[in-house]
Amino acid sequence: MKPSVRQLPEVATPFASVAEALNVDQMPWLTELRQQALKQFNSQGLPSKKVEDWKYTSLWGFGQQTFNHDALVHAVTAEQVEQAALLENSYRVVIVDGQFSSALSQLDNIEDGLTLSSLSTGAAQVQQHLGQQVDIAKAGLTALNTMLMKDGIVITVAADTVINKPIELLVINSGATDDLAVHLRNVLVIKQNSKATFIEHYIGLSDQVAMTNVVTEVVLDEAAELEHYKLQQESDNAFHIATLAAKQAAKSNWHTNNISLGAQFARNDIHSRLEGEQSHTTMDGLYLVNKQQHVDNHTRIDHLVPNTTSNELYKGVLDDESHAVFNGKVMVHKDAQKTDSNQKNQNLLLSRGCEIDTKPEMEIYADDVICGHGSTVGQIDQDQLFYLRARGLDEVTARSLLTYAFAVDVLERIPSPEIKAALADVIEQRLPRGGAAA
């Protein structure tokens, strides 16, 4: 399993400018990390399709694209931000074209115990965690991110604190800069018995070619809880690469929901390590793609100790000539007895020309477990369609309604009614509207 070496010749160039921007002289450990990543990237390059994790997703197009690493001045207004944001009532951290904007952010009346800062100011605070949840040796894109990360958000929640207001990280690509590449790093540390809600929201305002490569690292201490949502609405020509990784101490709960709607090319790697007993992960997600979109979701849950549980539901709706990939891996390590794990992936194919490649995997090294997974591929039920048509709905509306019903299922486990409703709205808007319903 040797990844082929396909280097981006210009990778060393942006490194100099980034190094400057991050004030690396004051943080030699960070410079060191970047150097390691650079070395790693130069020896490994980007993964080829021969690597099992990239079997169905080619980075060829990505490798051919040249990107601009320096953003020009943007002109995003407060109204645009307001329109783009998912939630009205939240702490809002806005990053435009790769740079944190305090003017557009909404960070008043921060509750006690919560600190929110951009990576450039908050990195020192999370030195012990930064880079710990991801492996630069494994994925070329993570090495690329580590080498070039410029901004992002650092969130810490003190022990015994419940943060009531959700935190929305709004990452906007304004389109002001051609072929802009943005490398973001988010670090969240939730201390024991604390709770927070975090939404990563990526949005493109133009159809400019762009690249977002984001790594989010999460550390959950004992009995910490994080509701962690991700909504991706990048522009039609964007490349979106995201890695989410969490390590979970005893009794902690990580609830992720990953909704992928935009980008011509999207790849999500989501990984949780259940390191403490009675910890739990929920991984839900939806990919709704059309035209020639390509979306690839790779999830992995490591059950490392006894008495841990996980639950996963990913659904996909594929239209036109889109291509979706799902790979869900559940690893039950030796001695992780009493693991209870359940995974489901369901796909709805709407059109000729689309392709789904799904692979739910289980690797189990303990015997006293209950593990199951299921995977289906199918189409809209003709009887259901007939039922709706017989009641006067036109074909487009009927199909949209059935598709909507299929898709919103993934939101069922979201506890907050506001977030659930907001996400359901976004999904609904994405579906075609028929005459009768309008």
Binding site: K334, E355, K359, S375
Partner: protein, 486 residues
């Protein structure tokens, strides 16, 4: 609770089998080529077997292609690298004449071996209605029921014999399902295969009996490379049984067979395997490496193939009996029980490639892992862009016995047609304490209870086997897991 669990863990250990019942070596003279592989060896094999020119040419092409390949490493198995130059590629029981004309002429030592294995070669064969084409270290020594089969126009003979009697059929079909370019072991097999079975069922014929072959690996250090080719012409039917045992050895023996099935319009092949080769001792010493390429091509419309396998032996089992569903309305089925114990490793499953319209496939896989073994299901369901209304149902369940073994599932599903319906379902668990308690409370001892539960777990597969085999398979299951529980 803790004591209960450890007590049960102990019972599991106790239940795990110990002695390999079929472990014995027949002491007969054999004629072998010295170890090593080059074009000279291939020419020699071809010369010994007196093969037509095209066969030698094909072998050499395969060999040259094999030289360009690297050993595949993607399977979830671990084993020391194989030195292909240290193996001997041909071994045949020494014969004074050109071949035995009747059973009396067969080496009595050999017949004794079959008796120990319970091969119904003599009157037992007649009673059981089984025609045996027994392959003993690469050369077929006896055939039965030839006349009866010949009446129907069925060709059932050793591969080398068929090569002389029906070269046109072999030339037409050999390598069309599994090309020598297919993979490392298929290339190796194509270059050096010694013998195997050839079956041709003519149009409209329903084979009146179950056809069966026993394979044994006997001479030490000899890899056995069989080649089986079965062709079912239009509207025909055949059920083929393959069962294997091998003597106990301390060195790993390589077995890289190729099985090709061709199924024409409305024809049907049922291919059943019970594999019980020497799995190595409890420390993983010895045992067979079973790296097999099995594939069926449903060429005709409404053709059907059904693979049923019970895999209990071999140190490493690495095989994926596959079906290419080319003809419209064709059907592929795969039923498998794979049992691993001690340090055995199995990476097995199937591939269903849907190409024709209205094709359907069913996959039922049951994996049982005990001891320190690793048992993986790896499968592929692919629906091509023109495979309208393809349907697949997959169910793979794993049962774990003991906390040192592993069970893994790697199903690949690739769909390029929006009318396809594909379902995959997998579960992993152990025999629950509730189930055991229920049985024990009704007076069954632990062993019987486990045996009953395991048999129930595998029933879906076992019932697909022909009757004679089903009995053997059930015994094997019991034997393989004797003493173990969850």
């Amino acid at each position: 609770m803790v004591t209960l669990m450890s007590e049960q863990a102990q019972q599991i250990e106790d239940f795990v089998p110990n002695e390999y019942a079929a472990g014995f070596v027949t002491d007969i003279e054999s004629e072998s080529l010295p170890p090593g592989l080059d074009e000279g060896v291939i020419r020699e094999i071809s010369r010994i077997k007196d093969e037509p020119e095209f066969m030698l040419e094909w072998r050499l092409q395969a060999y040259r292609h094999w030289l360009t390949l690297e050993t595949p490493e993607w399977a979830h198995v671990q084993y020391p690298p194989i030195d292909y130059q240290a193996l001997s590629y041909y071994s045949a029981p020494k014969q004074k004449t050109d071949g035995p004309k009747s059973l009396d002429e067969v080496d009595p030592e050999l017949l004794k071996t079959y008796e120990k294995l319970g091969v119904p070669l003599e009157e037992r064969a007649r009673l059981a209605g089984v025609a045996v084409d027994a392959v003993f270290d690469s050369v077929s020594v006896a055939n039965t029921f030839q006349d009866k089969l010949a009446e129907e126009g069925i060709i059932f003979m050793p591969f080398s014999k068929a090569l002389k009697a029906h070269p046109e059929l072999i030339k037409k079909y050999l390598g069309t399902v599994v090309s020598y370019r297919d993979n490392f072991y298929a290339a190796l097999n194509s270059a050096v295969f010694s013998d195997g079975s050839f079956i041709y069922i003519p149009k409209g014929v329903r084979c009146p009996m179950e056809l069966s072959t026993y394979f044994r690996i006997n001479a030490a250090n000899t890899g056995q490379f069989e080649r089986t080719l079965i062709i079912a012409d239009d509207d025909s039917y055949v059920s083929y049984l393959e069962g294997c045992t091998a003597p106990m050895r301390d060195e790993n023996q390589l077995h890289a067979a190729v099985v090709e099935l061709v199924i024409m319009d409305r024809a049907q092949i049922k291919y059943s395997t019970v594999q019980n080769w020497y799995p190595g001792d409890e420390n993983g010493v010895g045992g067979i490496f079973n790296f097999v390429t099995k594939r069926a091509a449903c060429r005709g419309e409404s053709s059907k193939v059904s693979w049923t396998q019970v895999e209990t032996g071999s140190a490493i089992t690495w095989k994926y009996p596959s079906v290419i569903l080319q003809g419209d309305n064709s059907i592929g089925e795969f039923y498998s029980v794979a049992v691993t114990n001690n340090l055995q490793q199995a990476d097995t499953g199937t591939k269903m490639i849907h190409l024709g319209k209205n094709t359907s496939s069913t996959i039922i896989s049951k994996g049982i892992a005990a001891g320190r073994s690793q048992n993986s299901y790896r499968g592929l369901v692919r629906v091509g862009p023109n495979a309208e209304n393809a349907r697949n149902y997959t169910e793979c369940d794993s049962l774990l016995m003991g906390d040192k073994c592993g069970a893994h599932t790697f199903p690949y599903i690739e769909v390029k047609n929006p009318t396809a319906q594909v379902e995959h379902e997998a579960s992993t668990s152990k025999i629950s304490e509730d189930q055991l308690f229920y049985c024990k409370q009704r007076g069954l001892d632990v062993e019987d209870a486990v045996s009953m539960i395991v048999n129930g777990f595998c029933k879906q597969v076992i019932r697909e086997l022909p009757m004679e085999f089903a009995v053997e398979a059930q015994n094997l299951l019991g034997l393989s897991l004797e003493g173990s529980v969850g």
